[in-house]
């Protein structure tokens, strides 16, 4: 990922090479996998911070929060997949 960032910022031809690399199905899938992990971490992290503030700190609240986290993550991850392809 860092390599792609470096390449894309180095030069115009580097940027073109990144676009070319991202045309590859395997690279696309790898990018999607990394992005999915990151998005889930982000959403679960926001839920964690909300619970730190004292909201939903009950057995029922925790369950609802976990359900929302999983559902929202699934939607966002599918959206990311659509965006990549």
């Amino acid at each position: 990922m860092l390599y792609l960032l470096e390449l894309s910022l180095q030069s115009e031809s580097g940027f073109a090479l990144v676009l070319e690399l991202l045309d590859n199905v395997i690279v696309k899938f790898a990018a999607w996998a990394v992005l999915s992990g990151l998005l889930y971490h982000l959403i679960a992290g926001i839920k964690h911070l909300i619970m730190d503030l004292g909201y939903g700190e009950t057995l029922k609240g925790g369950f609802i929060g976990a359900c929302i986290t999983l559902a929202l993550s699934a939607v966002v991850i599918v959206t990311a997949g659509v965006w990549i392809w």
Partner: protein
């Protein structure tokens, strides 16, 4: 089990607060990058490099890079001291965990230096 010499802040309270603040910085940066993609559907090299060129964005990128490193250190420490313990690994647990943690720290150092090179190099 030796744990308190391998965490970042040397105290749970420091780690706790560093982890929260770095999380907020990382989330803000992620959303900014996401927004730049949404606002530029026809992204090309000129637009892409101009996003990272300004001084404000350079500082933001750099602060985020530091936040990422701290966040990763604390996060890996938390996970490893929870799941690489004598309970799972027996008597050599501490040795194995510190070896693993050293690997993580090395990787974090590489990311930090490489990241500085990318954002500030050209």
């Amino acid at each position: 089990m030796v744990t308190n010499v391998t965490n970042l802040g040397r105290s749970g309270l420091y780690d706790w607060i560093i982890q929260r603040f770095s999380a907020i910085i990382l989330a803000a940066y992620s959303l900014c990058i996401l927004a730049s993609f949404v606002m530029n559907p026809d992204m090309d090299f000129a637009k892409w490099s101009s996003i990272f060129e300004g001084n404000a964005m350079r500082f933001f990128s750099m602060i985020t890079l530091f936040a990422l490193c701290a966040h990763a250190w604390i996060g890996m420490w938390t996970v490893l001291t929870d799941y690489m313990t004598p309970l799972q690994l027996g008597t050599r647990a501490t040795f194995l965990r510190i070896l693993f943690q050293a690997g993580c720290v090395l990787l974090i150092a590489v990311y930090l230096l490489w990241g500085i090179q990318i954002f500030w190099g050209n």
